[in-house]
């Protein structure tokens, strides 16, 4: 199978064989022909499959390493040359280039510019005594104002007891090792045994005094205070931190997690408490909700609640829109548009044109209910309250589902856990959970009692929480 067969299957016209553009295809086919004899066997088959759509970039396979090995060009010369590592030492290293090119003179190492030394003050004994004396006097003047410190400092100096020779020795070492304190401490070999902190403190104290007399505005002066005690303390802490056992580390981590939890819980309880306090502030409503059942009542309630919110709480940016109002507005807009289109003069046929359909519906139902209760009252107008009671007839004026029921089944129920608590309280009050005589009046009182017990339980829960929160924050 050759490429032409595949082209036939795929219904692709081959450029080379189409007679229309024969002349242009000739060179390419000839080029392909030139390429062909080079491949044999499987590769030839492959090339047959590829046809003339050969990849544009010829991938040169093969390893050039051997060729390089075979290259005849001369290697570039390298020479082993002396150079100056520092003013005292000369070393040798390999440099590219022939001996003639490099030259004979000693060259500085390119790294010598990194060989920097600290400038550590040097002084003679007289200078030392004068500047030490000067600053000590100054300090004394300062310390006279608060004499407690001066005695301490005096004591300290007695304990240290540095001679000038030792100081000179210390400064020499400092210069030599560029303030690498561990080296200095290691090499320090004077008659007295000094700790690392002693050395540091003395060095910084003298430097401070030196700069104070010679150059009071030196920028380093502020960073030259060193307290040995603090350093020792720091090291102790570090020691303890590093010598903790794995168990201790684990315990510490657990404690951190625990403390985080506590913090979170405290935050949450605080928030809850705030909301509770806000609840306590707001007036407790015992009124019936009937006045909010109409649309006007509803929107009024909404606006008062909103006003309440903005007054008492932080302003909440995402107060939900009153969906009712939104709908009303949409309705109103819709209506206005319609009016605009129709442009009838008698649009204002209704007494209040701004009322939406829904509002009117609400109005109607409210009116209907009123007429219903009026009708019910009318039916009973011949009976006084005593007679009504005897007949067991009540006009409650509310929307309750019609039908027959047992009075005792209409008592408010709560979630099981809460219900049990309420029963427990009732038992405590030596009252039955179901009144012995569930008549209308009794049930009304019972309902009130149960609601109050509910409030009580809620309040108790919050007080307990509050107390727990206080004990946590303590």
């Amino acid at each position: 199978m050759s490429s032409s067969d595949i082209f036939d299957v795929l219904n692709i016209k081959q450029k080379s064989k189409s007679p229309a553009n024969g002349p242009t295809s000739v060179p390419s086919s000839s080029a392909a022909n030139r390429f062909k004899p080079q491949v044999t066997g499987m590769q030839r088959e492959l090339f047959n499959l590829l046809g003339e759509n050969q990849p544009p970039v010829v991938i040169q396979s093969g390893n050039n390493f051997k060729e390089k090995m075979l290259s005849t060009s001369r290697p570039s010369p390298w020479s082993f040359v002396e150079f100056k590592a520092n003013p005292f030492v000369t070393l040798r290293h390999w440099v590219k280039g022939s001996k003639e090119l490099v030259g004979d003179e000693l060259k500085e190492s390119p790294y010598s510019k990194f060989n920097q030394h600290l400038s550590i003050p040097s002084f003679t004994e007289e200078e030392y005594t004068t500047f030490m004396h000067d600053t000590e006097n100054q300090e004394k003047v300062q310390n006279d104002k608060n004499p407690n410190d001066s005695t301490e400092i005096g004591k300290k100096n007695d304990n240290k007891n540095w001679s000038f020779e030792e100081i000179n020795y210390l400064f020499e070492l400092c210069r030599k090792y560029d303030l690498r304190w561990f080296l200095i401490f290691d090499r320090y070999n004077y008659n007295k045994s000094r700790t690392l902190e002693d050395l540091k403190e003395e060095f910084y104290r003298i430097c401070r005094n030196y700069f104070k007399t010679n150059n009071p505005s030196h920028p380093l002066l502020s960073s030259l205070n060193f307290s040995a005690e603090k350093e020792i303390e720091r090291k102790k802490y570090l020691q303890r931190l590093l010598s903790r056992s794995a168990a201790e580390i684990a315990e510490e981590e657990a404690l951190i997690v625990e403390s985080k939890k506590f913090e979170m819980a405290a935050k949450r309880t605080l928030a809850e408490r705030e909301s509770l306090l806000r609840l306590l502030d707001s007036p407790h409503s015992d009124q019936s909700i009937t006045q909010y059942l109409t649309s006007q009542g509803m929107s009024q309630l909404y606006s008062t609640l909103l006003a309440d919110k903005t007054r008492k709480r932080k302003h909440d940016p995402n107060i939900p829109e009153n969906p009712w109002m939104k709908q009303q507005q949409q309705f109103a807009q819709h209506r206005q548009l319609q009016q605009m289109n129709v442009k009838k003069p008698e649009v204002k046929e209704s007494p209040s044109p701004k009322k939406t359909k829904r509002q009117r519906q609400e109005m109607q139902t409210a009116l209907k209910r009123r007429s219903e209760s009026a009708y019910a009252e009318l039916l009973l107008k011949d009976f006084n309250s005593e007679e009504r009671k005897a007949l067991g007839v009540i006009t409650h004026g509310e929307k309750l589902s019609p039908g027959v029921y047992l009075r005792s089944t209409k008592l408010s129920t709560f979630k099981p856990a809460l219900q049990n608590k309420i029963f427990a309280v009732l038992q405590e009050l030596s009252l039955p959970s179901r009144p012995v005589m569930p008549s209308n009046d009794v049930m009304e009182r019972q309902e009130e009692l149960v609601k109050k017990i509910n409030t009580l339980i809620d309040l108790k829960k919050h007080v307990d929480k509050y107390e727990a929160g206080m004990s946590i924050t303590k």
């Binding site: 209910r369 027959v404 009252l431 012995v436 005589m437 569930p438």
Partner: protein, 224 residues
Amino acid sequence: MPPSISKRIKTLSVSRPVIYGNTAKKMGSVKPPNAPAEHTHLWTIFVRGPQNEDISYIIKKVVFKLHDTYPNPLRSIEAPPFELTETGWGEFDINIKIYFVEEANEKLLNFYHRLRLHPYANPAPSTDNENENNPPGRNAKDAEVSSVFFDEIVFNEPNEEFFKILMSRPGNVLPSNKTDDCVYSKQLEQEEIDKIDIGIEKVDREINELKQKLESLVKEEATQ
């Protein structure tokens, strides 16, 4: 609004007091002829007015569904008195269905009563809803055990026709004082209200105490 016959009177409800429950007595050696040998008690379950008034003007029939082990457990009582006497040895829940007269056009009322045969040694008044009728002087063993509940059937928004029937007689009248025959009276009602009022007072007091406690806690925290 033209009043039609089947129209419900909105925003109005009529209630009728009713008593349901059972009485039970231990049978001695004298047993009804058809009673099974293992039955030990003779009991009667009933639904009636508090003073045995006629309630057939609202109730068409009462169906008691007994335990499945009884032959023919669905017992329908179609005429007053709405009561059923049986023998038995165990206590069980009896399903009571009250069907109302045709004019009412109401669904049936469905509830349960736990048949009680045995007097309890210490009837706890707070958990037990029943009104103990047992006079203390009598020997507890042969005393008649009774478990009776008072309730009110409330017809919310009855239709016009049924309303007329309901208005035809003062069905909600209770005796003013407690008597041995009928404890359910205005007196008992007032006692109930008084008891609950005392409870409300106690709860109010506790609420106030807790409020003060909370306020003092808040202050304490503010000073910290």
